[in-house]
Symmetry: C2
Subunit: 428 residues, 2 copies
Amino acid sequence: MIDLKPVKGTRDFYPPQLRLRNWLFSAWRKSAQQAGFEEYDSCILEHEALYIRKAGDEISQQLYNFEDNSARRLSLRPEMTPSLARMILQKQKTLSYPVRWFSIPQCFRYERMTRGRKREHYQWNLDVIGEPTILAELEIISTLIRSLNELGLDSQDFRIFINDRRILNAMLEQLNVPQNLQNSVLVILDKRDKLSADVLCSELSNKGLSNIQTTKLIQFLESPNFEAVAEQLENQNVLNELKSILDQFQKIGLGTYLEFDISIVRGLSYYTGTVFEVNTLNKSSRAISGGGRYDSLLSAYGGPVIPAVGFGFGDVVILEILEESKKLPDLKQVLDLVIFALDSKQDEIAMRLAHQLRNAGLSVQAQFGPMKMQKALQQANNLGVAYAIFCLPDELDRNEVVIRDLNNREQKAHSLANITDLSWMGNA
Amino acid sequence: MIDLKPVKGTRDFYPPQLRLRNWLFSAWRKSAQQAGFEEYDSCILEHEALYIRKAGDEISQQLYNFEDNSARRLSLRPEMTPSLARMILQKQKTLSYPVRWFSIPQCFRYERMTRGRKREHYQWNLDVIGEPTILAELEIISTLIRSLNELGLDSQDFRIFINDRRILNAMLEQLNVPQNLQNSVLVILDKRDKLSADVLCSELSNKGLSNIQTTKLIQFLESPNFEAVAEQLENQNVLNELKSILDQFQKIGLGTYLEFDISIVRGLSYYTGTVFEVNTLNKSSRAISGGGRYDSLLSAYGGPVIPAVGFGFGDVVILEILEESKKLPDLKQVLDLVIFALDSKQDEIAMRLAHQLRNAGLSVQAQFGPMKMQKALQQANNLGVAYAIFCLPDELDRNEVVIRDLNNREQKAHSLANITDLSWMGNA
């Protein structure tokens, strides 16, 4: 007997789960397309080198990686952004900028499973490439908000907690942390909720930070608001872009969705500016979505400097939140009618009828095998179809079938000859 | 500099390729849903044990397999049927039969690349589980035909070449090939076009077949028609189901699509009855689709005997054929209009307007940055949108924008105040 369960940390999608997944993907696609974004995809299998970073990003240690039969080092993608960067660089001269692309890749990370985290998830990625101004942030974040609205969530349900890496870097500068260490210090700081105070101090101390520097940093990340942050900073210029972004969102009426939050760091070393996370108002779950500006990633891969902003939005956390708040839709199978052949003598005619009605554009399920009429009606009701057609011996002798309208519970015989004109629909 | 190309044998999907992929997937989904099939999915990563078979199936040697951090033997799926069988067995007591499911999984095989074959492809799978009669074959194959029609192909373009493993097994029986070797002999015979006559003979001889047996087998597989096959067979009963299937397809008017072909074997050892392949009339390419009845797979995995019929239909071969015959559609980005802010002073108003029109349900791309009017119009035409809106200084002073209808090449100023009522659409 083989193991019937899916691999640990991965999921099977039976039809009810897949309907929900398709519903979520449709909302993502619709929101992206409304904002003029185009869909792309790469392969789930990539060269491992794409994910090896010096700053100690957790993701580099969580790869599903292996060697293929030709000794290539490969990895299942843990995130989409590196593949996007690779694809942009491959065609950089022929693309027209800013590029506005989205994708819904499945991503893999080998890590400990907790609420909201499996070892694979599907992650909507939306990116603007080649736009240096905050117009990129405005497009990206307003599309993110629209997608959450599309899923039935509003400003009572979520916030976009926003920060800017340049503010964090300015404080590191102020505390004399050398520039080449700043990214790895930020990667460690992002994990601070998962680490004990001792381990955090020792990891930062390994990077050369003194206890005083560490204490000041942690204090800075606990600043309650914009003013408190501004007070501590010598370099006030780094606050300007964030102020403009918040200001613009006020103007287009989305101001309530955004909240400045100096504690948002993000665990990927490639962010260079704005960083943000979506969460419930009290941050009661893992981040629903996260993203930011990564102006140096493409040059880190050997390309020119091309500014970029984007986010990832996974399927696991949002579906958990929607389920807990009873906001998941009740989705039925796509089906117009079901045809019953309650006796095998009627199989052939039922099959032919199903074929004709499908050719006429209807979604038709054909049910064969002996079944009581009552059971058949119950099954039709469960399927959520509007009509059921019964192939019964007496009626078939007159070249007729019985069509039942399940909404008004009426039924009548109908000639087989003109059944594909669908005149019986709506007034059966 | 990192390697910008995708892993050998895998593909990137830039927006034009992804539009085609989505178009193909939509046709598959539509055909499946019209026939009352429900979508499911499993994870691309499975336990390797699912694919290890005794009969020497080529697929077992072509796995992308590896050990994860907990020493689990895993594999990227090379085909979907084993995952389907696993999922069915997992919930066998709660499902209502026959189960009619479909999926569009990506599958991986490490093999030499040729025309129509990469190391990954997407493969539409459609299966009926739990139906022992030819009703399953009728549903499966008629849906396959409808999907090819949906893609613009008809009986001048393709045939379903159909055979039955029971006929092949009867001949093996007749030639005294022991039952426990028959599956592996069929797996070898399926490769006969790729092997030299010598290698074929030696592989079959390794299974204990004499040269005379081999010669007779090859001759049998070259029988030109049904009558020639029937003449050579002692056991005529094994021809009955295939005759019924061909007969039924005649009756529903799809007879021309099917052609009996004793040379169709299929390379998977789990087939037990009907086997078929879709190809062009002269079999000029790799099989477009292939499938059959596999009544013993679920029991081979330790479950009860549950009859099953299904097929796989990959994206690579069909897209090549459609391209060569110039039947690929010319697909544009989903977009209703584009807004141009030709000067950065208009960025803010353009962004706000885009936001409002998206909220009104339109797909809107906002274009920023200096651009000549002529260039902007050309870009709008390339995008294939119906309207372009220009935010120009003089008009904005009067709280107006210029809306251009790109179909009739007319434009006029329109007040910003009531632009979201969309009254300008259709009569701009």
